[in-house]
C-alpha cells in the first residue's frame, strides 16, 4: 500500500509541472498586466516600464518561468504583487481555512446523505423514497449564496444560535500553529477555541454541503438498490443473519465503492474553495482570495494557488484510490 501511494505521488510530478507551465502562460496571456493595477491611471509609459522591470516582467517569458520553477521547488511562491507579502504566508492562512470548511461540508453531506439514500433505497418506490429524492434536489436547485444567506439570517441573525461571520470570535485569543482552527484548539489544549471554531463552521458547512448532499443521496440510493439485488445478499439472507448484519456487512460495504468515487471528486471541488459561501460568511478561505488576485493580475498569487489546488486534487484522488483498495480486495490484488 505504501509503495502504491509513493508511486502515485511520483506520477503527480509531471502533472504539476505541465500544469504550472500552462498556468504561467495563461496568466500572462490575459489582457492587461499587474503594472496596470499598481500604477496610477495617469502614469507615463516610462513609469510603467520601471514598475515592470522592478517586478521582473520585462525578461523573456521562459526565463521568468525557470526562475519561478526554481523558487517553487523550494516552496517559495514569490511575493504577492498586491500585498507585497510572501504568497506562502497567504497560503498557510487560506488553505487550512478552505480545507477545514470543505471537509466539514463533506462530513455534513455524508452524514446526512448516506442514511437518507439508504432509507430511500430500502423503501424504494414509496412516498418516503420520493420525498427524500425530491428534497435532496433542493440542495442543487437553490443557489448556494441564497442558501447561505437564508441559513445565516435564520440561525445566526434571528435565532442567534450561531455566529454570523468569520472563523473565530475576536475575544477568542488563541495561537494558530497549524492554521486549522479546530485542530489548533486541541493542539494548544484550548478546547473552548475548538468549540468556537466548530460553531463558526456549522452554517457555512451546511450551506456548502447542500451541493454534494443531493448527489450523495442519489448515488447511495442507486448503489444500495443495485447491491440489494445481488446474489450474495440473498446468500446472506439465506444464512438467517440479522437484518443489520445484512445491511452493514453485505449491502453497505459494497455500496461504498461507487460512493467513494463521487465523494472524492466532490471533496476536491469543495476544498479548492467556494467564493460564494466564503463571501457570505466572511470566511477567509481560498476562493474569494484567488478571485481577488485574478482581478489584480497578481501572477505569483494565482500561479501558486492553482498549483497547490492541483496538488490537493491529486492528493484527494490518491486518497480515493487508497480507500478503494481498503474496501475492495479485488483492487488490492490488481495492484
Amino acid at each position: 500500500m505504501g509503495r502504491f501511494a509513493a508511486r502515485r505521488l511520483f506520477q503527480a510530478v509531471p502533472i504539476l509541472i505541465g500544469l504550472s507551465v500552462l498556468m504561467f502562460a495563461w496568466v500572462r496571456a490575459l489582457p492587461g498586466g499587474p503594472e496596470q493595477a499598481l500604477v496610477p491611471q495617469d502614469a507615463s509609459a516610462a513609469e510603467v516600464e520601471q514598475v515592470r522591470e522592478s517586478l521582473g516582467l520585462n525578461r523573456p517569458i521562459w526565463m521568468q518561468y525557470l526562475a519561478y520553477l526554481g523558487q517553487v521547488i523550494r516552496f517559495d511562491f514569490g511575493t504577492s504583487l498586491m500585498s507585497r507579502q510572501p504568497v506562502r504566508a497567504e497560503m498557510l492562512d487560506r488553505f487550512p481555512a478552505s480545507i477545514e470548511l470543505g471537509v466539514s461540508a463533506m462530513l455534513f453531506a455524508l452524514l446526512v446523505g448516506v442514511p437518507l439514500g439508504y432509507l430511500a433505497a430500502k423503501h424504494y418506490g414509496s412516498a418516503l423514497d420520493h420525498a427524500f429524492v425530491t428534497s435532496s434536489l433542493i440542495g442543487i436547485t437553490i443557489p448556494v449564496f441564497f442558501m447561505a444567506y437564508l441559513l445565516k439570517f435564520v440561525f445566526a441573525v434571528q435565532l442567534g444560535w450561531l455566529p454570523t461571520t468569520g472563523r473565530s470570535s475576536i475575544r477568542m485569543a488563541t495561537e494558530h500553529p497549524t492554521g486549522f482552527y479546530v485542530l489548533d484548539g486541541i493542539v494548544t489544549g484550548n478546547l473552548m477555541a475548538s468549540w468556537d471554531a466548530i460553531q463558526h463552521l456549522i452554517l457555512p458547512a451546511i450551506a456548502l454541503g447542500s451541493i454534494p448532499l443531493a448527489v450523495i443521496v442519489r448515488i447511495t440510493r442507486a448503489a444500495v438498490l443495485d447491491v440489494m439485488n445481488e446474489d450474495y445478499v440473498r446468500t446472506a439472507e439465506a444464512k438467517g443473519l440479522l437484518k443489520r448484519t445484512v445491511s452493514i456487512r453485505h449491502i453497505m460495504r459494497n455500496a461504498l465503492i461507487p460512493l467513494v468515487t463521487v465523494a472524492g471528486l466532490q471533496l476536491g471541488l469543495l476544498m479548492s474553495g467556494t467564493v460564494l459561501t466564503e463571501t457570505v460568511f466572511a470566511f477567509s478561505g481560498v476562493g474569494s482570495f484567488v478571485a481577488g488576485a485574478l482581478f489584480a493580475r497578481d501572477y505569483p498569487t494565482i500561479q501558486g494557488f492553482v498549483v497547490v489546488i492541483a496538488l490537493m486534487y491529486i492528493l484527494v484522488n490518491l486518497l480515493v484510490d487508497i480507500t478503494y483498495a481498503l474496501i475492495d480486495p479485488r483492487v488490492r490484488s490488481a495492484q
Partner: protein, 340 residues
C-alpha cells in the same frame, strides 16, 4: 409425516393495472430426511420461486403466497420475519446456482462461513473459525486454514461452490435446498459437487430438495421427482417409475430430448417444439397443450387433476404413487427410457 410438506402452494406476483402472474399454482411436495427429491422443469416454471418461498426469501411486497408449507410440523407461512430468520441457515439451508456471484466479493471467506455459526450457535470467533476450517476440509478444499483469510475472487468456481456448500452445512441443517448447484460448473466439478451432496444425505440423513432442469442430475441423485410446467406439477413419482414410464407428454418430451451415448453422432436432437411462454389456455386447461403433439380439444377444457398413472410396477414395490396430470398420456416408450 414428512419433514417438509408443501400443500396446495400458490404464489402470485402482483402487477400494476394488470392481472397478477401466477408463478406457482397448487403445488404439493413432500421431502423427508435422508431423501432427495428433485424438482424439475424449464426456466420460469416456478421451481426456484418454490424454493425461495420455503426459506421466506421472496420479496415482501407484491407477492402473494397461500397454501401451506409445514416444516417439522411448523407452519412456515404463518411465522414472522424474526422466526423465519432463526430457521434459515440453522434448520433449512440453501445452495444457490451461481457460485461466482453468490459470495460477497469484499468479505473474507472465513467471515462468510462463520457468520451462520456465530449467529445461530453463538460461537466465539475462534471456535467458529476452527469449525469453518473443518467444514472446508469436509467439502474437499485443500489448505483450508489459508483459504479462510482469502477473498472469493481468489477461488475458482468449483471452490466457491464448495464454500457455499460449507456455508449451507455449517449449522448442520436437517434440510438442504439446492437450486441448480451445478449449472454454472464444468462437468468434472459437477460430478464432485453431486457426490458431496449425496454423501451429506446418506451420512447425515439430511433432506435434500434438488432443483434442476437436468434430467441427468435427477437420475444420478434423486429418489423422487416432481416435474413442473408453467407453475404446476405435471408428473410426480419415484424416479425409477418416472424414467421407465414417463406418462405426461412434457416429461416424455424432456426425456426424449436428451442425447444419449448410444445414439449416432449425427442423429438430430429431439427438441420439444415451441417455448414455455405460450400459456394461453392456462386457466381452463393444460398449459402444455400448445406444444403437445397429442393434445385434443378436451385438453383445453378444464384442468386435469393429478391422478395415478397406473404404472407403479417398476418402482420395485415402493409405495409411492406415480401421479400425472394428463388426459392423453404417453404410451410406454418404444425403446426403454434411460434408467437411473
Amino acid at each position: 409425516m414428512a419433514l417438509l410438506e408443501i400443500r396446495d402452494l400458490r404464489i402470485s406476483f402482483m402487477r400494476r393495472g394488470r392481472p397478477p402472474v401466477r408463478a406457482v399454482d397448487g403445488l404439493d411436495l413432500d421431502v423427508d430426511g435422508g431423501q432427495t427429491v428433485g424438482l424439475v422443469g424449464e426456466s420460469g416454471c416456478g421451481k426456484s420461486i418454490t424454493s425461495l418461498s420455503v426459506l421466506g426469501l421472496l420479496p415482501k411486497r407484491g407477492v402473494e403466497v397461500s397454501g401451506s408449507i409445514r416444516y417439522d410440523g411448523i407452519e412456515l407461512l404463518s411465522l414472522n420475519d424474526d422466526a423465519r430468520r432463526s430457521i434459515r441457515g440453522r434448520e433449512i439451508s440453501m445452495i444457490f446456482q451461481d457460485p461466482m456471484t453468490s459470495l460477497n466479493p469484499v468479505v473474507r471467506i472465513g467471515v462468510q462461513i462463520t457468520e451462520p455459526l456465530r449467529r445461530h450457535k453463538g460461537m466465539t470467533k475462534g471456535a467458529a473459525m476452527d469449525a469453518a476450517e473443518r467444514l472446508l476440509r469436509r467439502v474437499g478444499i485443500p489448505a483450508p486454514r489459508q483459504r479462510l483469510g482469502e477473498f472469493p475472487h481468489q477461488l475458482s468456481g468449483g471452490m466457491r461452490q464448495r464454500v457455499l456448500i460449507a456455508i449451507a452445512l455449517a449449522c448442520g441443517p436437517r434440510m438442504l435446498i439446492a437450486d441448480e448447484p451445478t449449472t454454472a460448473l464444468d462437468v468434472t466439478v459437477q460430478a464432485q459437487i453431486l457426490d458431496l451432496l449425496k454423501e451429506q444425505v446418506v451420512e447425515s440423513g439430511t433432506a435434500l430438495m434438488m432443483i434442476t432442469h437436468d434430467m441427468g442430475v435427477v437420475a444420478e441423485l434423486c429418489d423422487h421427482v416432481t416435474v413442473m410446467y408453467a407453475g404446476r406439477a405435471v408428473e410426480a413419482g419415484n424416479v425409477r417409475d418416472l424414467f421407465a414410464h414417463p406418462t405426461h407428454r412434457y416429461t416424455a418430451g424432456l426425456l426424449a430430448a436428451m442425447p444419449r451415448l448410444e445414439t449416432p453422432r449425427d442423429a438430430p436432437l429431439n427438441p420439444i417444439p415451441g417455448s414455455a411462454d405460450q400459456k394461453l389456455p392456462w386457466d381452463d386447461g393444460c398449459a402444455f397443450m400448445p406444444r403437445c403433439a397429442a393434445a385434443t380439444a378436451a385438453c383445453g377444457r378444464g384442468l386435469p387433476p393429478m391422478q395415478s398413472t397406473g404404472w407403479n410396477a417398476v418402482g420395485g414395490g415402493l409405495d409411492e404413487e406415480h401421479l400425472h396430470r394428463c388426459l392423453n398420456p404417453a404410451p410406454a416408450l418404444a425403446k426403454k427410457a434411460m434408467t437411473p
